[in-house]
Symmetry: C2
Subunit: 209 residues, 2 copies
């Protein structure tokens, strides 16, 4: 094949992958995390053989779907949040992006979790950015000084747990982000009892789910 033709084939393949992963995310949203692959292929409008060629297993689809989701929704927000002049606002932006993603695609996360695809490599950049913004906000006197990085992880766990108390999708979670952030204000902050380490499991996975 000519150089042009092979370039065209690669572009077609990339478009197919994109389409399959979007279809996977839609399928999770509508049918839960255990959708069969042929259902995803049908929704993507590709043959099952094409799907298997790109993603040899359910796990591979789930992993790549989470990657796509993070690349589209979280990565750009991390950059924007870190660049914000107001570190507290940056922190809120990042928390809201995570909540919004989890609220719209809870089963993309669940499918990735079942596939063992929630690794520290993926959660790391997000939690790092959260920690950096929190430290800058503390230095600016905008956040209580006694918060430690593990607290941020747990605050995310608490906020995510609220999603399961409401019929999704929707943004009912915003109320609880505001409530919790009021608790993180340095104004009128009570003395905090000591922070205990994260559980062993959570330290390994480093995911707030």
């Amino acid at each position: 094949v000519s150089i042009d033709a092979s370039r065209r084939l690669r572009a077609d393949a990339a478009r197919n992958s994109e389409r399959i992963l979007h279809a996977a995310r839609e399928s999770y949203a509508q049918q839960g995390p255990d959708v069969p692959l042929d259902e995803i292929a049908r929704r993507a409008g590709v043959g099952v053989a094409t799907l298997y060629r790109r993603f040899p297993s359910k796990e591979a689809v789930a992993r790549a779907a989470l990657d796509q989701c993070l690349a589209e929704e979280i990565s750009p927000t991390i950059d924007r949040a870190l660049g914000d002049d107001d570190p507290r606002r940056g922190l809120v932006t990042l928390l809201e992006a995570a909540m919004s993603m989890a609220g719209r695609e809870p089963y993309t996360l669940a499918a990735a979790k079942h596939a063992g695809a929630l690794s520290p490599k993926i959660s790391g950049p997000f939690l790092d950015a959260l920690t950096r913004l929190a430290r800058r906000a503390q230095q600016a006197g905008l956040l209580r000084a006694d918060l430690v990085p593990d607290d941020l992880h747990r605050i995310l766990v608490m906020l995510l747990s609220v999603l399961w108390t409401m019929d999704l999708p929707g943004d009912g979670w915003r109320r609880y982000v505001t409530l919790v952030l009021d608790g993180l204000s340095p104004v009128g902050a009570s003395l905090l009892p000591p922070a205990v380490p994260l559980s062993r499991l959570l330290r390994q996975e480093n995911w707030p789910t």
Copy 2:
């Protein structure tokens, strides 16, 4: 049998039940919610036949173990909290009692949940007391005025979720009760986004787990 003898038999039976349920709670704590009944009988020092006579199924044990746990740890606290002159302190007492119980006996709750034994009849008095104390605290200006009863339910969900981020038992949860309570203070309270209804499932079960 004489009246005295039958009274003695009834007292023996009640003591046996008490002992079986305490053994069940210890077994859940050490082995998780799916302990076999003969293991519970062994720990209680009674025969399996005796256990089956009082509790015909795993579900019956789990239900009665939760009842015992609530009767010992929550019911007396509800009365004490409602009688507190300071309604905010009463609210804190009640939240702490629930967290302490859930932190020490997470699998008693889990076993009861598996057994379908978490009914509104059981959670009702606790949530009612929480709501009454919150209202009194709001009237006294000790709690933000914009909280609604469903918020209390969700706050409990959030706090309970923190338990799974730490190696139990322990009282690492106290830090997050303090953080969240700071968020419930009327001082510097932000405008809250609207409250959405509890999910259908939660409205049916009325349990914050």
